[in-house]
Symmetry: C2
Subunit: 119 residues, 2 copies
DNA sequence: ATTTCAGGTATACTATTTATACCTAAAGGC
DNA sequence: GCCTTTAGGTATAAATAGTATACCTGAAAT
């Protein structure tokens, strides 16, 4: 992504290497940067967590949001959903290797956010 | 952010250290993770860029979006807006120190996104 | 008998994003 | 002179995303 602008002999501008539609940063953000997605992944870092526990941990997000995000992450192979019991239905969510690979970025974001008092 | 769930003697659950409203990760994402915000910052990494040049570089984002994001970033002190000419009006946008401090995270995100072929 | 837990879904409403057109003023082509 | 292009945006409407609230099934505890 080294896009730049050049001007031809007639003063007309054109872009070299434009981000035609989402570039790598934008594509990454669409996964990790969705509302609540980063927090969700981060809260799964220590192992499997249940749906309602995630709901309790992320004060502010609705069940619908959490459900939707988890489904997106599952579809992308970042999270694994396991039914550990039916009848009284019980499921856990945990990170896959791919999901785990995003943790470093999130940890850096957390440190950055705390260092500069982002609010 | 080490929230966990505990169960009392009666089987009732309660959260310890819940993310009551946005935690550090979530707050950071609200700044850097907004749609187009990451790309915008990243395209400013090599120095001042003009409004319409940013518009051309971020194929896909509308002027309105770019305008809005730049205003948000300016309000947060991450970007500096400079009028370099009026009459034929001309402005440039550049990163402040704070803005620059986010570049490492974005670079890591770009590498992650490319490594795992996020699309 | 009522409440609590699990893991969600349904409905309605609000906020954000997108697409499209337009504005002022100056310069270039024909 | 007339039309197009450039700059840096703004206005309007339509589409998409997120929020609040209530509700569902089935089992166990009060």
């Amino acid at each position: 992504m080294k896009s730049r602008i050049e001007t031809d002999g007639y003063g007309r501008k054109k872009v070299i290497d434009a981000c035609m539609e989402p570039c790598a940063i934008e594509r990454g953000m669409r996964i990790i940067g969705g509302k609540w997605t980063g927090s969700l992944i981060y809260h799964l870092k220590d192992g499997p967590v249940r749906f309602n526990d995630l709901n309790r941990m992320l004060g502010g997000a609705t069940k619908k949001m959490i459900d939707q995000r988890l489904k997106e992450l599952e579809a992308r192979g970042m999270v694994l959903r396991t039914v550990i019991n039916d009848r009284p239905i019980a499921v856990t969510y945990e990170l896959t290797e791919l999901g785990r690979s995003a943790l470093d970025i999130l940890e850096d974001l957390r440190l950055w956010s705390e260092k500069y008092n982002i609010r």
